[in-house]
Subunit: 454 residues, 2 copies
């Protein structure tokens, strides 16, 4: 009799784990069942805004793998199967499917339910024309509506998804407004000064941005949304997208007594094991160790889900892999304006108890005289005294964003800003000044970190 | 009486040093005289091919700083002043200028003469239409000739400059041929397999490439070049550019008894001091420590010259800076095809005595379904057993090249490929797959490095 691995949730983390486990243990050693409540397994959530915009034309491109592809390697991937209960004492999972409710046993359980949208109590969310962008089906709907005669779109929320959806609508020619209750966009992941610069850029592009404005209700007429906010505050809209962030989908875990950490995700060790015997977790629903703060953190990023899923899968397959932690590196763009971050912001450095300094450098993506050169800005945070790098934020034109990886690589090994200032980075006029902006920002923050304060 | 610093050579290293020294020591403490034999100080040699091509329209853009700018901060930058002798015992430099020959004393000497073109004995190099691309004046001449009715260009040599000049001619619509005696292009800095791929790409673009062909003579008619090679081997040409590489300009140093290292450059310590009292050196003419091989190496790169010059200048100004060494990171492009490298190639790893493995990954610059995605290839070299990173080479479409910095940053801190495989790099479909090609290549080379050899 083979052992049985049940994976709850069939997206990035779950399917990476299933694939890795299968590569190491054949079907006669390990049966793998994946319970996915939705219509797809293993899809590119990050690609969805680009399907809405039409940049990605083929819906099929967003499906990384189909159930059939998993079946071929004897991974029993089941759509429309929603886990409804876990009994960790008896090693059983109960799920609901089109065929009814059923309970099966497991030898190993991987909890990979991902995250779910935050839905604050806003009046009128049930109106026609109010959406979110989460599943592939949401993407399909938004594409249809946005290209079907809609003229005015309101995006509530200024995080990554909010910006990306706004970009998509703007690309399609809709009058687009982002509304956020915060003073700037990207308020959770960037410092306010950098967020404000992104906000300025959005406005220059013609995307309206309303800050410090809480949308408490949506206005409807004949059941259809016509405005965000109500009464005299209303902003006209044919489409409203709620992009208010997400939280780890941990209800099922909590009900089963699987411990959650302070940051809200399922507690895991560096092998992706929860404290409960035979129960593992990975992806948006689980915590991950932040390498710089040294604290567990819950982030919802495809990169982390894939890596953590891979580690879980290797271990479930009998290997020995360690998850090395994360930096919270992320990148997005609005048209040709790139936005990236890694490590800790000033706020996060403060929260983690660091004595820190920050410095910013305005520079260009290429030699200043190169015709394709555009402005870019690097902000760097470092520990006072030691100059140990803590984090960076980069915004700017084409070629700016992926420079964040240079900093990520430096952060990974605990490099100081003084060191990064002299790292031998690549130069040629179409690509950089002779001192890359990353070198310059590092030099500047190192100087600030070692300056004797008056 | 102030001390006197004499800088021999007024380009990147010399002027960086002069500027840094001046920032730390005022004119009443330190007099700074720069002897530059050419027509310019502090110019962008790396920008020259892009002036030839017309990408950079304004010749003035290639001048980083003018003598006048240096004079303003009391740096006595003198053009057309060629040092002709150094007496390190007496602390004197002799130079020739339009005013005649003169000898002055120094308290500190910075030897920053840069590099000079290799000019193998080729018959006919004196013909009209035969050029090299070294100085700003060369760039001006090439631009004039290439836009003045020339139709066929031959570039002899397949290094960075050879490729960049060929690109410029090709941009201008000339029939362009690169001739190299080596089996591929970039033979000194890339492994042959990667060089061959670059060669294939050049040919696809319509740049002809003739390999393993030694140009021993240039054919002329009425004093003007008409072909490269002679007799039956001749390739028609209105313009021939010799781009056969460069060597450190060390004659003056050698004559003065300033020691040279095995790699040909002036020997310096980590403060840019030569073994001779009060004599310093930096830039193309000096050696630099390669951080991976641990050996001194002589490279001709603007990045290294600027960094080493800065270090020399800080120390000459009374500060204490250490040059941390180099990786030989470099980048170039041919049209939209990017080419970059860092650390050691297979050949260099072998020469440095490493037991190494290499692995290559074909991937894409963005998510495979992103409309602007293009192919890219990452080759990585790592130490067998430990998986310690030794080097990388990257080629591909827009966005590929600067990823080399991610590897440079990792190499800098001695990271293993196993570690780099899991570094938290930035992902979003317009920028990368969910596993960046750098992660994937690192994973592959780590697997190769730890595989039990049969």
């Amino acid at each position: 009799m083979p052992e049985r691995l049940v994976v709850v949730g069939g997206d990035a983390a779950g399917m990476s784990a299933a694939s890795q486990a299968r590569r190491r243990r054949k079907p006669d050693e390990l049966e793998i069942i994946v319970l996915e409540r939705g219509n797809y397994v293993s899809y590119s959530a990050c690609g969805e805004p680009y399907y809405v915009s039409g940049d990605v034309e083929d819906f099929e491109d967003l499906k990384v793998r189909t159930p059939e592809q998993f079946w071929k390697v004897s991974i029993d991937a089941r759509l429309h199967h929603e886990a409804t209960g876990i009994d960790t004492d008896k090693g059983k999972v109960t799920f609901r499917s089109p065929a009814g409710e059923e309970t099966i046993g497991y030898d190993h359980l991987l909890y990979a339910t991902g995250s779910e949208s935050l839905r604050p109590p806003i009046e009128g969310v049930g109106l026609e024309g109010v959406y979110e962008l989460r599943t592939l089906d949401d993407a399909k709907t938004l594409r249809t509506v946005a290209t079907g005669g809609a003229r005015k779109a309101v995006v509530v929320g200024g995080g990554y998804i909010g910006l990306e959806v706004a970009e998509a609508f703007h690309t399609l020619g809709l009058e687009t407004t982002i509304v956020t209750m915060m003073p700037t966009v990207l308020e959770r992941t960037f410092d306010p000064d950098m967020g404000a610069r992104v906000g300025d850029r959005l406005r220059e592009m013609g995307i309206e941005l309303i800050t410090e404005h809480k949308v408490e209700c949506l206005e409807g007429r004949h059941g259809k949304v016509v405005g965000a906010g109500c009464f005299d505050q209303s902003i006209q809209a044919d489409i409203v997208v709620l992009a208010l962030g997400s939280r780890p989908a941990t209800r099922l875990a909590a009900d089963a007594g699987i411990p959650l950490g302070a940051s809200g995700g399922v507690t895991v060790d560096d092998h992706q094991r929860t404290p409960i015997d035979r129960v593992w977790s990975a992806g948006d629903c689980a915590d991950a160790l932040h390498r710089i703060s040294g604290l567990p953190i819950n982030v919802h990023l495809g990169t982390v889900a894939n890596k953590a899923g891979r580690v879980a899968g290797i271990n479930l397959g009998g290997g020995d892999a360690t998850f090395p932690g994360i930096l919270g590196t992320a990148i997005t763009k609005v048209h040709d304006f790139e936005i990236a971050r890694t490590g800790l912001t000033e706020f996060e450095a403060e929260s983690a108890g660091f004595e820190y300094v920050a410095a910013e450098v305005g520079s260009s993506t290429a030699a200043h005289y190169w015709p394709g050169s555009s402005p870019m800005r690097v902000k760097m945070v470092a520990e006072r005294g030691t100059t140990k790098l803590l984090g960076a934020q980069i915004i700017g034109g084409p070629g700016a964003g992926k420079r964040i990886d240079t900093v990520a690589s430096a952060l990974w090994s605990g490099m100081t800003a003084s060191d990064l200032a002299m790292v031998d980075l690549a130069y040629s006029p179409p690509f950089s000044g002779v001192w890359d902006p990353v070198n310059i920002a590092a030099r500047k923050v190192a100087a600030a970190a070692t300056a004797v304060s008056g």
